[in-house]
């Protein structure tokens, strides 16, 4: 089976700053990959290049067979980017729920507006996905009435309602109070068990250890190490990985 996501020789510059350096990575179907690394290592940028929230400077992004060259312009490119976005679900650190819509309307906005699905069908789909994140009873609330953890779970349901082939999580628990992190991680664990392909940028080492099939360590725009969590946490090869793990062990995260 071909990989769901294939990133080849991805380069990204912000002005003169070289934030991703000819980076390549593959995500197989049903695989859960956690990307760890210090802030500024380029891990969020990598995620945002996969669904083209950041336009790659160079390189090729392939999602579920759709191949897009970075740094291109024009209508064909825009169409390909659109197709890639339909295959990827994204969850943001800051949730980014639409504050002027109810929880259910947030979830069905994509299916109705983008996929032109019948409203009644979309409502069914929306309720099903709210059920998955355990928030059916909040369907008619507005986001400002929810806790951070609930907001993030709604954001996950919103992404799932587009029925993506891969879910991208960009530090999904970093903006949450510590006591609310668990409920979001539990939803993510459930998704992983259901066989969802996931790419997770996180500082939650415990989650990486428990759920990831593969942990990728990034530093300075490059992948410095990748292996199974058991191996990585027991015998890190790169000193930068060692430093991350030490910080985690000393109670940092």
């Amino acid at each position: 089976m071909p990989p769901i996501v294939k990133v080849s020789k991805l380069d990204k510059y912000f002005g003169r700053l070289h934030v991703l350096k000819s980076l390549s990575i593959k995500v197989e179907s049903k695989e859960v990959i956690c990307i760890i690394g210090r802030s500024g290592s380029g891990k969020s940028t990598l995620l945002r290049c996969i669904n083209f929230l950041e336009e790659p400077s160079a390189g090729v992004i392939e999602v579920d067979g759709i191949k897009v060259e970075g740094g291109e312009k024009g209508g064909r490119h825009r169409q390909l980017v659109h197709d890639v976005r339909l295959k990827t679900g994204m969850v943001f650190q800051e949730f980014n729920l639409f504050p002027h819509m109810t929880v259910l309307d947030n979830v069905i906005e994509g299916p109705v507006t983008v996929k032109k699905m019948d409203r009644s069908k979309a409502v069914e789909l929306g309720e099903m996905n709210l059920e998955r994140v355990g928030l059916s009873q909040k369907r008619d609330e507005y986001p400002n009435r929810l806790s951070g953890g609930q907001k993030q779970r709604v954001a996950i349901a919103r992404a799932l309602a587009m029925e993506p082939r891969v879910m991208l999580f960009d530090e999904p628990t970093s903006a949450l109070d510590p006591e609310l992190i668990g409920e979001v991680l539990n939803v993510m664990k459930k998704l992983a068990k259901e066989g969802m392909t996931m790419l997770v940028v996180t500082h939650e080492m415990g989650f990486a250890k428990e759920v990831a099939d593969r942990v990728v360590v990034m530093a300075d725009g490059e992948i410095v190490e990748e292996s199974s969590p058991a191996q990585l946490f027991a015998r890190p090869k790169d000193p930068r990985t060692q430093a991350l793990i030490d910080r985690y062990r000393s109670g940092g995260q």
């Binding site: 929230l53 659109h82 504050p99 002027h100 507006t113 992404a159």
Partner: protein, 280 residues
Amino acid sequence: MSLSAAKRKTPSKSQSELIFEAQQRKERQFRSNVGLSWGLLLILLVFLFTGEKLNLGIKLIHLDWDFIRANIGFISSGVGVTFYLSILSIFLATLLALLAALGRLSIIPPIYALSTFYVSLIRGTPLFLQIFFFYLALPQVGINLSGLMAGVIALGLNYGAYMSEIFRAGLSSVGKGQREAAQAIGMTPTQTMTRIVLPQALRFAIPPTGNEFIAMTKDSALISATGFVHELMWRATKVGRAQFHSLEALIMAAVFYWMMTLVLSAVQSRIEARLSKGER
């Protein structure tokens, strides 16, 4: 009887409650004193126009009440015209302001330039001149606008330029994350704008637009200068000049303007309160 039940029976208040009540009393007192002072100022103002002779040899301003009675109907029917004129103008202004604000976000140079050019030109010239331009200057090139049309276009263009800042602020109040979330679920730029950004920006812009509308009801008085729009100011100056009773006529018009702005302000603060407690 247990001790705690006995305690609950005695209505002794905690210190924090007492402090809170004292604060509330103070606030109530302040508000009622302000209200009282307003009343006194109003009485004083009315008294100034009673025409009484005071002991010190000062005579207060005398108003001709017969003139007022005879003309109050004529002047007050300008309220509707003023309101109508302002409604038309605010619609035009809102539309132009929105377009100018969107133009300001454009990455297409001519559109961006058109927006900034419009705002700069209009804000750089007097409103009074603009009104005359549409009414007096355009006929010279064969464009004849009615006084009402000229007035509405001038007011709309003028307020549109100023209000574009309101809409720009409204658009930029919608965070980048909102656009990204919309893009991530596959929305096109147009869908993102109409479904996600504009609804939030407009909600932000409603209270300041209300303020502009109130200001506009007053600036619409300038249109009386065209001589053909029978709004409040035109009516007041017409009868005032004709019968040498501008004092009474202008005072009547002032009272009507004041009442209008008071009513509109009340409506506006109610809308504002509803929006702020709504689902933001």
